[in-house]
Symmetry: C2
Subunit: 458 residues, 2 copies
Amino acid sequence: MYRTHTCGELRKEQAGQQVTLAGWADAIRTQGKVGFVLLRDRYGITQCFIPKELAETVKLAELRKESVLQITGTVNVRPENQVRKEMLTGEIEVKAASLVVLSAAEPLPLELGDPSTTEETRMKHRFLDLRTERMQQNLLLRHRITKAMRDYLDKNHFLEIETPMLAKSTPEGARDYLVPSRVHHGTFYALPQSPQLFKQLLMIGGYDRYCQIVKCFRDEDLRADRQPEFTQLDIEMSFVEEEDVMAMMEGLIAHVFKEVKGVEITLPLPRMTYADAMKKYGNDRPDLRKEWKTEWALLWVVDFPMFERNEEEGRWQAMHHPFTQPKAEHLGLLKTGDLAKVHARAYDMVLNGSEIGGGSIRNHTLELQNAIFDALSMSKDDYEEKFGFLLSALSYGAPPHGGLAFGLDRLAALMTGSESIRDVIAFPKNKEAKDLMLDAPSAVDKRQLDELGLALKK
Amino acid sequence: MYRTHTCGELRKEQAGQQVTLAGWADAIRTQGKVGFVLLRDRYGITQCFIPKELAETVKLAELRKESVLQITGTVNVRPENQVRKEMLTGEIEVKAASLVVLSAAEPLPLELGDPSTTEETRMKHRFLDLRTERMQQNLLLRHRITKAMRDYLDKNHFLEIETPMLAKSTPEGARDYLVPSRVHHGTFYALPQSPQLFKQLLMIGGYDRYCQIVKCFRDEDLRADRQPEFTQLDIEMSFVEEEDVMAMMEGLIAHVFKEVKGVEITLPLPRMTYADAMKKYGNDRPDLRKEWKTEWALLWVVDFPMFERNEEEGRWQAMHHPFTQPKAEHLGLLKTGDLAKVHARAYDMVLNGSEIGGGSIRNHTLELQNAIFDALSMSKDDYEEKFGFLLSALSYGAPPHGGLAFGLDRLAALMTGSESIRDVIAFPKNKEAKDLMLDAPSAVDKRQLDELGLALKK
């Protein structure tokens, strides 16, 4: 036991007690022959007075900031006029009787929290950057978001079920990250772009309500604020229509805001059609904070087109994904090829001008799913090879189902007021998809490539 | 809204109500011109009576088992002597007024729950195998285990923090799964074998108490009951010694057993030294159920050797891992090279003859960590290249810290009485590391390899 209390815990109620604290030296000051140490941990900061004799014994003046210290002493109440109200422990001071250096710090390569430090330096020494109050508050809040999500979902009978990371490459939309197989040379797993098909299979398997906070992977060129690996809260429900999913999900977000920020969100959330959003705001994720005079502008955008034109490749593609169900009244248009007019049973949740979640009702019959693949001019061989297992599953009794995925990094960034999702990820990658602290990706031994049956192209 | 109640919900209190149920046809029986459907979902089974006229209209005799049906009707209470006590809904029966086929099932390629079905067939059609009561109970219990873990850890101030999946290859012990970088040809990420170094960095970053339920990856030949990807509950704590970690962790497991199985575990858990276990039982994970006459035999094994001889490679290696701290009284032996006698500050938790968790106090100073690398005859260049970021972090103020990782798959298998961890994983791989349902790993387009700067070796 290295401590009796944390550095955020002592109050005047502990006056006169002997306590032991442990933490980082946030600041070390000497005043003549006595000294002060501000001892810091995740929970707060406590001021410790170091009397003359102890200061000499431990050579206080030579101790460096960010060293890890253990201090035992007595809790003294400060005079009323010296209470430091900005500190949780501002009522007291610990008069040290002993001080042990648990781990001495070398001079730091950066000043914690200094805004002039480049992001490259911060990322290279991420373990130091993580000590800033900003990062600690961000990751604490992110934890509270996921805890609130899981509590709400558990109470509503969702099961959290893990889906594979080593999955199958189905090149479609974004690029897959591949993982070569050592056992079967020339074959590859792919890291999942999302658990979309797995969650549909879980519905077909009868799990009724599924959730998972899960890593997803897309090998894209990292424009703007993207990461090669990112986190979704992934949701799927059986025997539902749009209204069921949307009611459950806006309830979830309202619960998270209440638990984490103490903010009451009025439900049901307002809705806007895609057409109205594009017409009035020029995009499908309008920021309505000014208009509504509110700090948090949450709404649904609904009634999306099912298809969009990929002009580069001269073909139609699914706007959401090809497992989305078209509106029943537009099914006839699939056959006449009037794809621009087909609307989807899809919905996005928008917060302060960012899409934080998107989902849809899925195709739960083989007829519907094949009609979409046909409309996209995918050859039967092609979609049988890629999605044969899904088509097979749909032929053995699939419930109507639908769901949604929230972008957890984005949601956490918005709720913490962070500019970048890198500020709510403990160990993010930079815009070149590098981890500067680990120095990853990096070269590997030739032996490793040999074992995989791979060679680097010259 | 497809249903008013689940198939496990109706009781005699709902007598006379009109209800709508939706689920799978678990059985369809005809008796003369009337019929019965047992409608099943995750929550239970409800018997529905199909009167003559409706049975004819929907051609009940032609409907296949496992089709997904929606049935609206009236709740009738069964006579006392016809109550089916083995069913949650055995007090009632629903007299159907309408029946809609939501999704018709083709004849199934296997009989659900038939013990004669080969594992290959079950895995190929995993979405059907997942419908068995056994799999549904297993995944429900697994969900309850992780929920109980997170509740306990949250209450004890642990933060769940995500660590990267795209990390750095540090070939050591098991083989890494590699992920080629498209942006930086010739370089690779590695999927993490565990978040060991990340969690130590989080302690150095001041997070004090960390937890994560996280996927880990080892490219091993799959002897016995292993999976290429597996799940750990990963834990790390700052300012702790063995007693602190062990008390917190046995409290966690006791909480899980209480919440999930209603079983009271007596704390503190018994302890046995590695030497005693080897001497008395011939292994370091003794099964003490018979001896203790109990269903659940939980204990700690402690006082492990720090090093073990790798006879194949003719060198010493860390028994746990090289970040484990040796016992203080054995530090001198590191220098004299008497490695066989050095003991580690490590501990394993054993349940019914299986190791379910293992951990240690870590090296929190550069001196300690370098002493271990030196003892292992690792060259300074080698460990600087692999672990430079950790050594750097240790020089800027690291708290004493330690932790543990539980094997979640194994724990869930034991708690559900499953023979294999494949029975507590929704989409497992077989012993050849293949997903038979997805057909993964699989060949990829040449274009994908070109983009990665890779070629298959002939």
